[in-house]
């Protein structure tokens, strides 16, 4: 292989190598995790469900995690319930005002159907966006 051909090959492969390294180094979500943005969730002092149900992705099991995308003005609580029995699963998680980090609510098998509920403390929150990783 000539020097010129070798240089061309290296240049061609470089973007792929950089992309692979970036993927490996990325923190947080594993490749099997699926995220869904929960837009315009309105919360107040009573428990309010988000509009649609979710299912755990993958083929084995995955954590159910939630984070706020918007910086919220109030403390909130978020938890999951089973679609078929309505029972609380996992733990209730509290998010301080402005907290946009993920917290794990529960870990369940692939296909597990759940609904997310939220409560806002000390007022009403209108059209705030969150994200569920499942």
């Amino acid at each position: 292989m000539s020097r010129r051909t070798r240089r061309f090959a290296v240049r061609s492969l470089l973007p792929a190598v950089i992309a692979s390294a970036a993927l490996l180094a990325a923190p947080g979500l594993a490749s099997a995790d699926v995220t869904t943005d929960m837009n315009n969730w309105n919360l107040n002092g009573t428990a309010s469900p988000y509009g649609s149900n979710f299912t755990v992705s993958g083929t084995t099991s995955n954590p159910i995690q939630f984070r706020w995308l918007d910086s919220t003005p109030l403390q909130t609580k978020v938890y999951a319930t089973s679609c078929s029995s309505g029972t609380l699963v996992g733990v209730e998680r509290f998010y301080a005002a402005g907290d946009t980090g993920y917290q794990t609510l529960h870990t369940a098998s692939a296909g597990y159907c759940f609904r997310l509920w939220g409560v806002a403390y000390g007022g009403t929150m209108t059209v705030y966006d969150g994200r569920v990783s499942r």
Partner: protein, 190 residues
Amino acid sequence: MTPIRFVLLAVVAAGSTAVVSSCGAARYAAQSSSSAAGSLPTSAEVRAAALARENPTPPQFNTAIDGEVAWAEAQRRAARIPLPEGGNFNGIEWAKTAPQLTVRDIEEILQYNAYCQWLRAQADGRDPHAARVLAYVPRWPGLKNSAAQIASVITEPDTPLYSGAIRFCRESLVDEQRTARRLRLDPPDG
């Protein structure tokens, strides 16, 4: 059952099948019906079809209720949801569901629970008519949030989506049987 009632059941079920013939699940219902050609609709099928024709609970019923009221409302609404032989809702512990449920929430939980019972009955081969009942489930008024996914599950049984759904429903059964025994009630059979 008197002959007149028997004929009436068949007419109602035939009408229901015609009404829902525009969606995928309904096509599945038609296929299921033709595969069991000649057999008259069961009472469960007729009730499943009737439930599919109901409108969703109006927004004015969307106020939160608690405890005893939720339990009483659930008993009343459960009565019109068809279940396979040996099925019941005794595994749902209303005192441990999310607080301040609305009537809509209660209907969704009951109907999703019934969907799981029919899915298990079909998977276990316990009810030869389960597929025909399941075909109506995506149109049940309490399951609007899950309708598309349920329709995919019941029409594509060899997919990871189906495997996940039946796994969830079986795990749920174990919990429900445990709950019913703790409450000293008859657990659901399967």
